[in-house]
Symmetry: C2
Subunit: 312 residues, 2 copies
DNA sequence: CTAGGTGCAAATAATTTGCAGAGGC
DNA sequence: GCCTCTGCAAATTATTTGCACCTAG
C-alpha cells in the first residue's frame, strides 16, 4: 500500500510521526492509544507516550483517523482512509467489533431528526452482543480494513445492479402499457438508459471480483432492504394494464428519487476512486430521469385536464 | 412521587443512600457523578464522593439507573424507573439530549444482526447535532423524565389505535369481497374483535389525556413509520374485487404478525402499569388472529386443491 | 454481633501539559 | 532562525480502593 498521498492538513512531517502513522495504518481493528504506543516501542524505544497521543490527535484532526468509544473508559482509533463511516457490532466476549452500514437506518434517523427539528451531524450506532465466533466457535470470513473498501463497493454495486434491473423492467413494462404516445417515448428512453447503466455496472462488478477472488464470500457490509429486489420492483408489480398513466409516472418519480438519494449518499462516502465517480454520475442521471418524468407528468396532466375527468 | 417500591436487590438501606437516591430521582436530564455529588453536598456536607460513586454503581446494578456515555470522558446516569430504554439526540452546543425510540430502526438492526449471526443484547444510538433551541432560539416542549412514560404510552396508543382502525377496515372489506363462505365468517369475526379493541384503546387514550392536558403537544417519542396509516392500510388498498381469497388471508397474516411484534416489543418496555397490561394482552390477541388466519389459509388451500387451479 | 455502608486519603488509569531541547524548512 | 515536534516528568480528571470506623438488621 502507498500512503504517500496522506499527511494532509498543517503540521510538519517528522520521522517519528511517520513511524507512528505507518504502524497505525498497517494495523487492523481498533487500536487504543496504548496499543499503538506498545507497537511503536517495539520498533523504536525513543518515543514517548505523549507523542503517540499527540500524533493520534493530529491524525483525527487531519481526517486520517477516527476516534471511536466503546464505553471502555478509553478511546480507540480506526483509520478512515479508504474506509467510510459506519456502525459497529461489538462483541461483549472477545471485544472485537465488526462493521456495517444501513441505508434504511440512516434514512429513518434523518426522518426522525427532521420531525424533532434536530440538525444531525454524526450518528453513532453500537450494537453490543455476542458474535458468531464466540457463540459457536465457527469463525466467519473477517471484514478487515484491507477488504472494507472493496466490500463496500461490492455491496453498493450489487444494489445498483438490482436497482437498474428493476428500473429496466419497470420502464419496459410502463412503455408497453401506457396509452399516451409521448409518455411511451419517455418510458422507452429511460429503459434504454437503464440498460446502458446496467452494462457499466456489471462490467465494474466483474472487475472488482477479479481484484479479490474471495470477495463474494465476504459478509454484507452495506444493507439496503428497499433494494434487495430493486427499488422499482414494487412499482413494476403495480403496473397493470389499465393503470392510470399518471400513476405510472408518479411511481417512476418516487423510485428515481429514492435511488438518487441512495447513490448520492454512498457515492459521497467513497474515497476518491472509480467507485465514487460511477456512483455520483449515476446519482446525477437518476435526478435527470426524475426531472424528465416530472415534466412529463405535468404535461400529461395538463393535456388530460382539457378532457373530461373519468372516474375509474 | 412515591419511590418506596424501589430499593430492590441486595444492599442495606441507609439514610445517606436514601438521600442520594432521592436527589437523583428528582433530577431531570442526565447527571454525571460529580453533578450528583454537588447536589448531595448542598443538602448534607458529610457525604464523600466515593459514596456517591458507590451508590450510583449500586443503582445501576439494581436496575434503578442506567449508565450512558456521550463520549465526554465521563459517565452520565439516567433513571430507569418508568423510563424505557431509548436512543438519544445529543446537542453539540448545549449538551442536552432528547430521547426517542423507533420500532423500524430496532427491527432493521435485529435483521442485520441476524444476517451477521450476531446475538444482540443492547443497542446504543446517539445522534449528535444541533437541537432546535440552539439553532433557532425557539424552544420546543420538553420531554423530561416526568412526562416520558406518559408520552411513551400516548405514542404507543396512537399507533395501536391506527393499527386497529386499519385492521377493522381491512377485515370489513375482506369480509365483503371474499367469495368463500367460511373465510367470510373468519374475516367478520376478526372485524368484530378489532372493533372491540378499538373501544378499549380509545377509552384508555382519553384517560391518559385527562392526566396531562399538555400531552398532545409534546413531541413524538416512539416512531413507527409502518403504522402511521396503520399496518393494514397497504393491505386494504390491495384488496380489490376479484382478489384471490388466499391472498387476502396472506395479507392478514403478515399484518397480524407485524402488529403482534410491535405490541410485544413495546409492551415489554412498559413498567408494570395499565399500559403494559393492555399491550401484552393485545399482543396475544394478534397472535390468536394470526393463528386463526393461518388455519383458515391451510383449510382454504386444501379445499381449493381439490378444484382446478385457475390462472387469473 | 456482623455484614455492609461510609469518609477520607491514597491509588489507578487515561490523557494532557509545561518546559527545555532537537529537528525540519 | 523560527516554528513545530518531542521526551520526560508532573499535572489533571474521572473513578476506584484500602482501611479504620459506623450502623442497620
Amino acid at each position: 500500500m502507498d500512503y504517500s498521498g496522506l499527511r494532509p492538513a498543517g503540521g510538519k512531517r517528522s520521522s517519528k510521526r511517520d513511524l507512528i502513522l505507518n504502524l497505525f495504518l498497517q494495523q487492523k481493528g481498533h487500536l487504543s492509544a496504548d496499543d499503538l504506543y506498545d507497537l511503536v516501542r517495539r520498533e523504536e524505544t525513543g518515543i514517548g507516550r505523549a507523542t503517540v497521543y499527540r500524533t493520534l490527535q493530529w491524525m483525527v484532526e487531519a481526517g486520517i483517523a477516527r476516534k471511536v468509544d466503546f464505553g471502555e473508559g478509553r478511546s480507540r482509533f480506526e483509520p478512515s482512509f479508504h474506509h467510510p463511516r459506519h456502525f459497529h457490532l461489538v462483541c461483549n466476549t472477545c471485544h472485537r467489533s465488526s462493521e456495517f452500514l444501513s441505508s434504511d437506518v440512516e434514512t429513518l434517523i434523518e426522518e426522525i431528526a427532521a420531525v424533532r427539528q434536530f440538525a444531525p451531524s454524526q450518528t453513532i450506532i453500537q450494537v453490543f452482543g455476542t458474535c458468531e465466533e464466540c457463540r459457536t466457535g465457527h469463525q466467519a470470513m473477517p471484514l478487515d480494513g484491507e477488504a472494507t473498501e472493496r466490500v463496500f463497493a461490492r455491496d453498493a454495486l450489487r444494489i445498483a445492479v438490482a436497482t437498474e434491473r428493476s428500473g429496466l423492467a419497470f420502464y419496459t413494462r410502463a412503455a408497453r402499457l401506457t396509452t399516451d404516445a409521448r409518455g411511451r417515448d419517455v418510458f422507452r428512453k429511460l429503459a434504454e438508459d437503464e440498460q446502458a447503466h446496467l452494462g457499466t455496472l456489471e462490467r465494474r462488478y466483474r472487475e472488482l471480483l477479479a481484484e479479490d477472488p474471495l470477495l463474494e464470500d465476504r459478509p454484507t457490509f452495506l444493507f439496503f432492504k428497499g433494494a434487495a429486489e430493486g427499488i422499482f420492483a414494487d412499482g413494476t408489480e403495480r403496473l397493470r394494464a389499465g393503470i392510470d398513466d399518471l400513476q405510472a409516472l408518479l411511481i417512476g418519480i418516487r423510485c428515481e428519487r429514492d435511488s438518487h438519494k441512495f447513490f448520492k449518499r454512498y457515492g459521497e462516502r467513497f474515497e476518491d476512486s472509480e467507485g465514487k465517480r460511477i456512483f455520483l454520475e449515476f446519482a446525477d442521471e437518476e435526478r435527470e430521469h426524475r426531472d424528465l418524468l416530472m415534466a412529463e407528468y405535468r404535461s400529461l396532466r395538463e393535456r388530460m385536464g382539457k378532457r373530461k375527468k373519468t372516474k375509474p
